[in-house]
């Protein structure tokens, strides 16, 4: 049994050729969480059964074609009438129906047990995170009873390996869907409702998640990064993120600080430890520590920060951050300040 399953799994991997080389960054065979194992097993079972059924149909089809007989036309019509009560063909029909029925019952049972097994992780979580979807970015809050330990970030999740995490899902506008193929299946975020998923990551690594329900113009650019760390690394990250933003040290950074906290930026964005406390856009407190800009649209780099701050509407057309036409001096200063938000 194990051997057969192993062979089948190898077959799937062969079939999926390209997957391995991309290290399951966003593949559903990433198998980086507890439920991934159940998923892979179930998928292989279904695939094997379906391939067998398909081969049976094709074999019957080509047998019928190869058998094509040369007898006279009238004969065929006449024989056809008699053959409807032919016991062999009747048995074939009943047998075929029985095979389909039994196969489906087996698959339904397998699916039932996989579903329940995957649901088992829920209920004993050690960490609770609220993810709120917005057009087109993810607001992330690490919940804690202690307000000073409540951590807010955006478009990036850090999870400790081996720890069950409950992710509470909400939406501020339209329906989105939370999906990290390597870690968990989809769960819709529906305005006015609350849902959740529980993840137990099993492999350290970086995974990509993406909104999976069409949510408007920039649905394609509503991604996020999930960073599964060892527990000590996670704690280190967590403590660092709890710190307020560092104070400006150079005149250029000071100018950027003045602009960000005193002008348009602060209307929407929050930078902890500064007067900027807008709540409608992503939190910027540790922006530069993240891997991407604008919900997975661009990799984090100085050049991309320049591009994004100067003209977000040409990079992600239709998103809710306006192009405000910064003077070159202001732009230099703002980017310099943002870069210090490690």
């Amino acid at each position: 049994m194990m051997l057969r399953r192993g062979t089948a799994a190898a077959g799937v991997m062969l079939l999926l050729g390209g997957c391995a080389q991309y290290q399951h960054y966003q593949s559903i065979f990433g198998n980086a969480a507890v439920e991934g194992r159940d998923f892979n097993q179930l998928f292989v079972i279904f695939l094997v059964v379906c391939v067998i059924m398909y081969l049976a149909v094709i074999a019957f089809l080509f047998a019928g074609i190869a058998r094509r007989r040369r007898s006279g036309d009238a004969n065929v019509v006449e024989q056809g009438r008699q053959h409807d009560s032919d016991p062999l063909m009747r048995t074939g029909l009943v047998g075929w129906g029985a095979v389909i029925g039994v196969g489906l019952i087996a698959l339904a049972i397998a699916s039932f047990f996989a579903d329940r097994s995957m649901a088992k992780a829920a209920g004993n979580e050690k960490l609770s995170i609220t993810v709120t979807a917005n057009q087109w970015w993810w607001d992330v809050t690490y919940n804690s009873a202690d307000a000073s330990k409540t951590l807010r970030t955006a478009n990036e999740l850090h999870l400790p390996v081996g720890v069950p995490v409950r992710i509470i899902l909400r939406s501020n506008d339209v329906i989105h869907s939370f999906w990290v193929p390597s870690l968990t299946g989809k769960q819709d975020l529906i305005p006015g409702r609350q849902s959740d998923v529980t993840i137990v990551p099993t492999k350290v690594g970086i995974y990509r998640g993406q909104c999976a329900e069409f949510c408007g113009t920039q649905h394609a650019h509503m991604a996020f990064v999930v960073d599964v760390d060892s527990y000590p690394d996670f704690l280190k990250w967590w403590h660092h993120q709890l710190q307020p933003a560092p104070a400006p040290t150079t005149p250029l950074v000071q100018a950027g600080y003045n602009y960000v906290t005193g002008r348009q930026c602060a209307m929407c964005h929050n930078v902890s430890g500064t007067p900027a406390s807008g709540q409608v856009g992503p939190d910027l407190t540790h922006l530069a520590s993240r891997r991407t800009i604008a919900a997975g649209t661009l990799p984090m780099s100085k050049g991309n920060l320049y591009g994004w701050v100067e003209d977000p509407q040409s990079i992600k057309p239709g998103n809710h951050m306006p192009t405000i036409g910064l003077e070159p001096n202001d732009l230099h200063a703002v980017v310099a300040y943002l870069e210090t938000l490690k």
């Binding site: 559903i28 279904f46 019928g64 029909l93 698959l107 699916s111 996989a114 305005p191 649905h219």
Partner: protein, 654 residues
Amino acid sequence: MTERERVEQEDKRLAAEREKIARDGPKLKGAALEARLHAAWRRPPGIMGWLATVDHKEIGRRYIITALIFLALAGVLALLMRLQLARPDSNLISASRYNELFTMHGSTMMFLFAVPVMEGVAVFIIPLMLGTRSTAFPRLNAFSYFMYLFGGLMLWGAFVLNIAPDMGWFAYTPLSGPQFSPGKRADVWAQMITFTEVAALAAAVVLVTTILKTRAPGMTLARMPIFAWAMLVVGIMIIFSMPSVALASSFLISDRLVGTQFYNQAEHGDALLWQHLFWFFGHPEVYIIFLPATGFVSTIVETFCRRSIFAYPVVVLALISTGILAFGLWVHHMFATGLPRVGYSFYTAASMSVSIPTGLQIFCWLATMWDGRPRFQVPMLYVVAFIVTFVIGGLTGVIIAAVPLDLQLHDTYFIVAHFHYVLIGGAVFPLLGILTYWYPKITGRMMSERFGKISFWMVFLGFQLAFFPMHFSGLLGMPRRVYTYPAGLGLELPNMLSTIGAFVVALAVLIYVLNGVVSLYRGAIAPDNPWDSASLEWATSSPPPVYNFEHIPVVEGRAPLWDTEGDIPVISGLRVDEKEMLLTTVVSATPDLREPVPHASLWPFIAACAVGVFFVSSIFSPWAVVFGAIPSAIALTAWFWPKSLERHPEPVIA
């Protein structure tokens, strides 16, 4: 004069009247009969006659051609999308334009191509197949076509005017609601639904009544061609499912137009209500498209294997049970919304169970081929391609019926692959086959076999190249409806292959269409029954005369033209100076009534115009509902104005 004498006198007078009325029969046949039938049935000439016609063959042809034009338009949109997706991070098409493209592609394919083309084929062929002279309610049939045409023109007019819908063909609230879709785009989409649902409901009523009441004498339900069974089931499914989407889209319009709150969570509405209402229609819709195609397959398999379908009762029961089960599956579109787990298990089982009747049908086709003598002309090739392709789509359907698998595969390109295998492999391949098969009956000429085979192989292989790699794009994590994707996820190769395949398919369809157009003028003249088929549409000339049959045929078995050597038996006694058709009983098809058939009339067209103006203007103002109802009511009143009865009522046919 006693009462008795009075009755006798009246009987005599009626008998004398009847003598004067021209009937077909031994005294009247051949050219003389044809001339009189032609005079009674032909429509007025000219543009007015064109607009007024109630001939099911003309309406069916228009339906088919219009639907094929929409197929071509939606295909062009698909090519544009494939161009954009050929490479990662492509900037060929903007995000908002791309969203319009896939919304228009899906809406056009589902509402303006797939359902109407099936109805169009049925409207053309069903009366011929059943051996009658007209559909039931021919004016309603004409109205249905114009409503469909106007709905399609409105949607595509909006696209040209840059107010095309852009929220996906299933228009989830609240994205399609007043807050997140300002402007008129979503209203255009919702009113297009209203047009097509009126058209589809009208066509369904016409088809169901035609199938139940106008079959040739002797064509009991148990002798009815499988395609007629399929359309009967589909007609009933349309009647049960369309009201659901009618309700859903009316709620949406009133949310948007007059400030109701059906889908607004903040005011105790519910965004999920939309999904339930929409998919309660949307899932049966898939079978409304697929079941006619299974009827095509049964028709082709019978003819080209020269064997009646194996286990006819099983095939019929499979059609009926698929039609019923189709209404119990809609929740499998909503597994990711977070419903109770018991519900999940129920809908998994229900979704899987629908593959039992389909699996049995496939066995019956294969057994028919096994036991018969297949000839591999173009229509039969499409049936083989159908089986090879559709079964893959069916099996991936079983895979995504399992909740744990669906939660990963849902809304990815795996789903895109799945439903294109089911809809193109399961419905478009049989359609291309059946259009080749019925082409001689529709046009009187044969399509070129050579170009038919070339386009067949291109469409088949191109399809596999375009859609098989999408399974892998999905497994590698590519969601649906994204206008671009980043490099480095392994998506480059499958997407490039899909784009190449899409262009091969487009070229193949172009060859198919050119073959159809050239064959109109250059094709070999078709005999009455070029494929040596068994059903009644081949008992009349190709193309059929306007009155379909000189005499109404009588059916004694399941394969009328194979059962009889030479002329098939006929029944006579219908009037020839007036349009008249024979109604038979629902189950046993014994002659029941002679029914006058309406003449050509402009009122269906005028009514469609009035209702069309009403629907379109209600996009812009709720007052249109009040003022638009007035011309609509006038047109409908004129249409239904009682005619003075000039003829004497006549007894039931002997």
